[in-house]
Amino acid sequence: MEIMDFIISKYNYLIYIILMMIGFYAMIAKNNLVKKVVGMNIFQTAIILFFVSTASKKGGATIPIIQYGHGEATDIINTAQYINPLPHVLMLTAIVVMVSTFGVAIALLIIIYRKYNTLEEDEILNILKMEDGK
């Protein structure tokens, strides 16, 4: 039963590790360049899951929006009621970085495809070897 408790209490972290390993495997082992890019995306998304998981708090904490803001907030803010917003903000930046990396990678793939007419790594390496042999 202990292992069940462990899995249930930490399942989001376990999923993050599994996702990260899937992405990592795809980036290293896949032959198709598009699959490598997809693996890269899964890898980065796993990190987002990890960061967002760290923001949560026990005991029904919700999103950090104060109901009566701007001058009318007379209550003392009880931080235990709200999840930690900072990891979410960090991940917004990380998502921007992720999208731009993805864009650059896809743009490179278009150039590579135009040049070699394939996106399989072994075929490209064969073409390069033939060029060297000339």
Partner: protein, 498 residues
């Protein structure tokens, strides 16, 4: 000091990049002048910051007036200011050099080249100046993405090389980000100074050790530290010659700077040298890097690929200096960051001039090239001698400190490997230089020019010759100033406890 100089150093090239794009719509030829002007301003601001740091001590600049643990703060000590000067100065020199070379290699991409180049400089300067680990990640990615794009516009194989760099670089950046996340969940802070105060109590925590490992592996990928160097030779060989000159001389050094910050600022030397075996692992990998880089470099005939493998060895030198964990070794490592940046830019700039004039990168075609391009080859020779470590050049002085550092902590193997790899670089460069000065002209390339044996002198244009010359003079003279540099700057960067 100008009050907002620390922020301006980063923001100036960042804003100049889109402005440059707009200027490019109107007049293409103005982009070059605009880039040079922006980077000159950056150099002046960096000098201003360094002078202030030397006279007044550490600068803390709060962005938007928010106090450090909550807001992002820029901490500028001697190490930052020193690195800022190196990167901004080399970016200026390379941008002056770029005019003719870019016009020839990338005639229809001039505007975009300068835009992305400014972004790259901005990212690198941001990494150097920030005092916040997450902010550092963002700048690291700005610099890397700009770097991917610049490398991809090189020759035929550049896109594939750049793609491999994207994959490797992203793994590195993600590992760094994970490390930052682990540090954040264990301390609740992202500020470097704050972290270094909070962390000592948790040095036995597995999360913190895991964070350290992630950070180090991430940075090692970014700085192409053996065995994570696989992307570097391809990327730097196929990039346009201007880009190789800038990226080769600064990006790996900025990686080395981040490694220093993590090992000695975020974590205390007590943790990274004594508590966990990081220094031993880094030291032995550095030994492997020095040997591997030099041995692979011997086998190369493409001059840029040869220099790229030497960079791997040079990164090994720097890490070896850090890993021995004493004052001499650390001084040598920081001094080597400066010297290596100067000599690598000198070599890559002269290699770029050779390619510009003769269209060849193969060292076999360099025979008798000194008759054709005497000044460029003189610069190449000076750079080569400095890599080997012949006394009057600056390479000798940093290697001297590195050897002393290795001997002081009784790492005989490290010292011996450094000497062996210096001998190997001597083999590499003397092989090339003998061909340049005494080689027989058998290749058909020159026969068309003007008969046998007499080659008309045909130097690179002044805008390429001048930057190369400045770097060559730097290589020759920096050695004499190394005592001054150490007493005024580097001795203050040595972490406490050494």
């Amino acid at each position: 000091m100008i009050e907002n100089a620390p922020a301006l150093i980063v923001i100036l090239p960042l804003i100049a990049a889109p402005v440059n794009l707009i200027i490019g719509l109107w007049r293409k030829d103005l982009c070059y002048l605009f880039t040079v002007a922006t980077l000159s301003a950056c150099v002046l601001l960096s000098v201003d910051v360094l002078v202030t740091v030397i006279s007044n001590g550490v600068i803390t600049y709060k962005l938007g007036g928010w106090a450090p643990p909550w807001g992002i703060a820029y901490f500028i000590d001697h190490l930052n200011a020193f690195m800022l000067i190196i990167v901004s100065f080399i970016s200026l020199v390379v941008s002056v050099y770029s005019k003719k070379s870019i016009e020839k290699e990338l005639p229809d991409k001039v505007v975009h080249f300068y835009t992305v180049f400014l972004l790259l400089v901005s990212g690198l300067l941001g990494i150097l100046i920030t005092g916040d680990v997450f902010n550092l990640y963002v700048f690291l990615e700005i610099a890397s993405i700009a770097g991917y794009a610049l490398i991809a516009i090189g020759d035929d194989r550049a896109p594939l090389a750049s793609f491999n760099y994207v994959i490797m670089g992203t793994i590195g950046a993600c590992f760094y980000l994970l490390g930052v996340g682990y540090l954040y969940i264990s301390t609740g802070s992202l500020n470097m100074a704050d972290l270094s105060e909070l962390l000592p109590g948790m040095y036995n925590s597995r999360v913190v050790i895991g964070a350290f490992a992630f950070l180090m592996v991430g940075v090692a990928i970014k700085m192409a530290f053996f065995p994570l160097h696989k992307w570097l030779p391809d990327a730097y060989t196929h990039a346009p010659s201007t880009v190789s000159a800038f990226v080769a001389s600064t990006m790996t050094k900025v990686g080395a700077y981040v490694m220093i910050r993590i090992m000695f600022t975020v974590f205390k030397p007590y943790f990274s040298i004594e508590l966990i075996p990081a220094s031993a692992i880094l030291g032995w990998l550095a030994v492997a890097a020095m040997l591997f880089g030099c041995i692979r470099a011997i086998a190369q005939s493409d001059v840029k690929r040869m220099l790229s493998y030497i960079i791997i060895a040079e990164v090994g030198y720097i890490v070896m200096g850090l890993s021995v964990g004493n004052r001499m070794g650390f001084t040598g490592a920081v001094l080597h960051i400066l010297n290596d940046a100067v000599m690598m830019s000198c070599l890559f700039l002269s290699a770029g001039s050779i390619e510009y004039k003769t269209g060849t990168r193969s060292v076999h075609n360099f025979a008798q090239l000194y008759k054709k391009m005497p000044l460029t080859m003189a610069a190449f020779t000076i750079g080569g001698l400095s890599i080997v470590g012949i006394p009057p050049t600056c390479g000798f002085f940093s290697k001297w400190y590195l050897v002393l550092g290795a001997l002081e902590s009784q790492q005989w193997v490290f010292a011996a490997t450094l000497l062996i790899s210096s001998l190997l670089t001597a083999v590499i460069f003397f092989k090339v230089l003998v061909n340049v000065y005494f080689g027989s002209q058998s290749s058909a390339d020159f026969e068309s020019s003007s008969g046998h044996g007499t080659v008309v002198m045909d130097e690179a244009p002044l805008s390429m010759l001048l930057p190369t010359g400045i770097m060559a003079i730097g290589v020759l003279t920096l050695g004499f100033f190394s005592g001054k540099i150490i007493s005024n700057v580097i001795q203050f960067t040595v972490p406490g406890g050494f």
